[in-house]
């Protein structure tokens, strides 16, 4: 097995297409699964400066996160804290501080359990697009559902439309203890007009089904409501009624997701009341 440190995105892409190399970012999944991954050549992208960091691009109206940005760097990002607190809160839920110092957002999205860990549900709630070098833009829902992460491209950036003024967002996960992976979680974003009326909303629950899902009935119900007047219970009822057939474990997880949603809705109401989180 050979390891190449990528010199550029093009170099990484060349090794993927010509040599069948697998892309390694932080290296965590590789370390955990050496036996499965040891046979292919590897190309490391974690040091590519061109895909590191968080940038606010006013020309495109997008906030872009480099695929090699660590989850710890996301937690510390002022741009994300100001504009997309949901991504900060979701990144903070992954693993522990040591993991977050090593894990990258791109690696998380390409990992074997990529749909389940908190980054993907939160990105789904903010309508993110995965930019795969060269030249592809894939909505994050499609990416985690179908795209072969070791296909013929290299995940380079994750782009999120910059939220409208007045948008509140957050991520809430319920887990039995700090080291546990969590039972269920909810990500929510609401664009609140100056009148206090919700103009747009996205609600995603994770942990209940195999993949995170948008709860469109809840989104529809939120739009047009006053943020101050949404009872948390009401949101919970909608989420319950949107669920299809679930087995016993699924029903339990659904109830946990409902609790998380009620908690989050209440928190976002108070965030709205006090202005944007600093």
């Amino acid at each position: 097995m050979t390891y190449h440190e990528a010199e550029s995105l093009d170099h990484a892409h060349h090794l993927v297409t010509s040599r069948g190399a697998r892309v390694v970012a932080g290296g965590i999944e590789f370390a955990l699964d050496v036996a499965r991954l040891r046979h292919a050549p590897l190309v490391g992208v974690s040091r590519l400066e061109e895909i590191r960091g968080v940038a606010d691009d006013p020309r495109t109206g997008e906030i872009r996160i480099g695929a090699a940005t660590t989850l710890g760097e996301m937690v510390d990002s002022n741009i994300l804290r100001r504009s997309l607190p949901i991504l900060v809160e979701a990144a903070r839920q992954v693993g522990n501080r040591r993991i977050r110092n090593q894990a990258t957002i791109g690696g998380n999205l390409c990992s074997r359990l990529r749909g389940t860990y908190d980054v993907a549900p939160a990105l789904l709630a903010v309508d993110a697009v995965v930019e795969v070098h060269p030249g592809k833009r894939i909505p994050v829902g499609d990416f985690i559902d179908g795209t072969d992460p070791n296909g013929d491209g290299v995940v380079a950036w994750i782009s999120v439309p910059a939220p409208l003024a007045g948008t509140v967002s957050g991520y809430e996960k319920i887990k039995p203890d700090a080291a546990a992976p969590g039972v269920a979680s909810v990500g929510m974003t609401m664009a609140v007009e100056s009148s206090g009326v919700i103009g747009a909303a996205r609600v995603v629950i994770a942990g209940v089904a195999a993949m995170p899902v948008r709860v469109r009935t809840a989104e529809t119900a939120l739009v047009g409501s006053e943020i101050e007047s949404i009872p948390g219970r009401y949101l919970g009822e909608i989420i319950r009624s949107a669920a299809g057939d679930l087995d016993m474990a699924g029903r339990y997880r659904l109830e946990v997701a409902v609790a998380a949603a009620e908690r989050l809705a209440s928190r976002l109401r108070s965030v709205h009341g006090t202005g944007p989180a600093s």
Partner: protein, 174 residues
């Protein structure tokens, strides 16, 4: 340990080996490592630095906590081949050069933060990282943020006390 020219030659090649150079506890070293060698194996099996403990092997327990370029990571999850040009500090190096290490170790001893000792190197590394970010933490901050190193002996209360004691001693230091 590193040979007379600081070159480490004990790592037997498995498949293709890769030459890496890194700073380990302040000393420049070179090693030839296979791509599947993990940092914890490099440290313990090849360099002989056994202060970094092999616990869960999956990044949960924290007993292999080390600093890479100043960031706390689990050595069991870091492929050694990715360390070319990096700076690695283990408990052995921290004790020698980290300005707060001696105080933190003394605080753990004084507050009963050590019983069997297996988790202690990792606890100390994590405490150094934590106290670097929070110089005057309150108990709630320790409870909320110092939550990722397992201990099967103490029940954690004495470890929380140890971290608070260390913070107090460091704040009082001239």
């Amino acid at each position: 340990m590193f040979g007379e020219h600081g070159i480490m030659s004990e790592v037997a090649p498995r498949g293709t080996s890769h030459s890496i150079e890194l700073v380990l506890n302040g000393a420049q070293i070179r090693a030839d490592v296979p791509a599947d060698l993990l940092l914890i194996q490099l440290l313990r099996d090849h360099v002989g630095l056994t202060g970094t403990k092999n616990g869960c092997g999956v990044g949960v327990c924290g007993s292999c906590s080390v600093l890479v370029d100043g960031r706390l990571v689990s050595a069991c999850l870091v492929p050694a081949v990715q360390l070319n040009g990096r700076n690695v500090m283990t408990i052995e190096g921290a004790i020698r050069v980290h300005p707060a290490a001696e105080t933190v170790v003394a605080a753990f001893a004084a507050s009963g933060g050590v019983q069997c000792g297996f988790c202690s190197p990792g606890q100390v590394m994590a405490a150094l990282d934590f106290l670097d970010r929070y110089s005057t933490p309150d108990r709630a901050t320790v409870l909320g943020e110092f939550d990722a190193n397992l201990c099967r002996c103490t029940g954690y209360y004495s470890i929380i006390e140890s971290v608070l004691e260390a913070a107090g001693r460091l704040a009082d230091a001239p």
